[in-house]
Amino acid sequence: MDLLVVEDDPVIGKAIRQGFMEAAHECTWVKDGIKGLEHARSQQFDAIILDLMLPGKSGLDVLSELRQEGIRTPVVLLTALGSVEERVAGLTAGADDYLVKPFAFAELMARVDAVCRRSGGRPAPTRTVGDLCLDLATRRVIRDGVEIDLTPTEFSLLEFLMRYAGQPVTRKMLCEHLWESDWEGATNVIEVHINRLRGKVDRGFDRSMIHTIRGRGYAIRTT
């Protein structure tokens, strides 16, 4: 992917660029709204990550001008406030998604992926990671030729992990995907289901696929 990051905070901007470059994406980082607008006009990006509070020109102004000029590049907004009014204003101005600081980088990556895919077209009906294969149409899961029987929650969990195969998926993302609400309490409501899923997917195979990444969440990968 070719991404444009418009962010004035040097630490966040640097981290985002590094994160995406290490995930083998092209990433251009500019620090103010005017430069951001220039870049967005002159070059075709796959997605723009736009901070709302920017020197020169606010993120909301940049977004409105882009949309008025007919530039339809997907935009993910970043903000520190996250009030309802602000979110509504951002989405009304033509943003595709919205993330409140502080956020997990994995979530930003997942959301950028999602807005790019959405603008790209229908997702594939099947997902494959290593010898694990999931069919969205028939809702069947097969590993190494053996069919695995999953509950709907487990299926949904696995499907989500496989959508971001190789990348860490945070608890917050999983909670929102499974139950449409985040849960910030100390109780790990996801772990139970991950353990069950592990029991079904990894049991009997020598390589486990579902990994816990300390402090970050979970990931499905072949190694």
């Binding site: 989500f160 449409e180 609400s181 849960w183 309490g185 109780t187 300390r214 970050r216």
Partner: protein, 519 residues
Amino acid sequence: MQFAQLKEIFGTLRFRLTAWNTGVVLCVVVCALWGVRESVRFSLWLEADKQLMEDAQEIRLTIEQLYPDTEQIYKVLDRKTISHTHRRLYVRIFDEQHRLLWTSPNAPAIPFPEEDSLNNSRKPISHDDFRLIQMQIDKPGRPPWIIRIGSSFAPLEADVANLTRLMLVVGIVVLMLSPLGGYWLAGRATRPLAEIISTTARLRPNSLSERLAIRGTQDELDQLSITINSFLDRIAVYLIQNQEFTANAAHELRSPLAAMQTSLEVTLNADRTESEYRETLADVLAECENLRVIVNQLLLLSESDTGRLPLGIDPITYDITVEKSVQMFLGVAEAAGITLHVTQLAEANVDGDPGRLRQVTNNLLDNAIKYTQPGGEVWVELFTQNFPAPQAVLRVRDTGVGIPAEDMPHIFERFFRGDKARGREKETRGTGLGLCICQSIIHAHSGEIDVFSRQNVGTTVTVTLPLSAHSPVSPHRPPIFEPLTSTALRAQMMKQAAEDRKTAEEKLSVSRNPAPPTA
């Protein structure tokens, strides 16, 4: 500059009180004086008319008595008019054909008014400067002569004019004295106000101990002082709470910061292997997550304190909110060896923010499971009632460790944590803001939250929310489900979830607002 000063003086309460006072006194005095003058004038006129009438009667009697000695009559009349020169009394006598028989020499050379108007009215009329009266002799055997007499009312008007002059003098004196008195009185009345102003002006947010003096007169100004004092008391209490809250919040934030600082410092002290660095970074990340949760909770409380807690006001299906929370915690309950029952889940629409209400339900379920030992049970029921108002009632009951009686008054306090040993160790770690946030959210929805607990028996939390005006009230709906064990409910919900899943498949990729912070 000078104009501004004048404006300041004219704008003072004292000046305005004086002006009003003077105005009112003047009006009263002018009205009173005018009234007195008019009534004096009226009675003088009445008196003069009575006198005139008596004169006419006297003349009639004289004529009746002395007739036919006309010489004598005229002599008597002449004498009478002379004795009343100060009011210019005059007499004219006519026969029945209105021919003049006799006139007193002082009679004015003014034409008499129309016959009709005088006729035998026996009532005085005014003409020119004179009051006139006519009377006819009607005694048998006497000629029906007509007597006309008149007297000037100039002396009377002169008396009234004297009185008016006197009253003008009185009025001017009052006009000069009343502003002075008024100014003095207004000064007396507003002096306590000046004290209140100077005391209040001295107050600063960091020194709110001073209070206004109460004079003990129980008047309005005392009431004002009492009101201001109680307002100051409330502000002081609020400030103390706020300072405590800030101190507690800082303390809460310091713990993760200290943890991060220490682990980073220690890691940097020596060369480490990659896996050791990874471990440190993961620790720091976990502490960051803690910080994020605390900051989100503090933000939510601060928003609710200032009444800015953003809430949707759309009617939402509360039963679905509760159901989703139950789904979220079914797995946890099962893993903890606790049976989660949903005994009743009545349809209930309330106005509010589904995310926030969900947060409350999540918290209640989490607490119930957290503080219940393996083998225990948690019951959830949602029903509607019409009394005392149409409301939805959510009840979460557990067979857990309960809350000690001495802790009960504090459970909604910020950062209050009960005895650390009462739950399972690791998972009971929290910020101490959960219940407080629940209360804030429920209050923002015009609802109530009550906790009933007995130690070692269990805890029941009841949340009541006003039903949406748009929702039909269905009192005492029979339970949708038979009392269900978590497994049975799970099966039922999974079936439902499976049906929904097809449409919900791309849920995350559909543009949705990030969920609000959860306690």
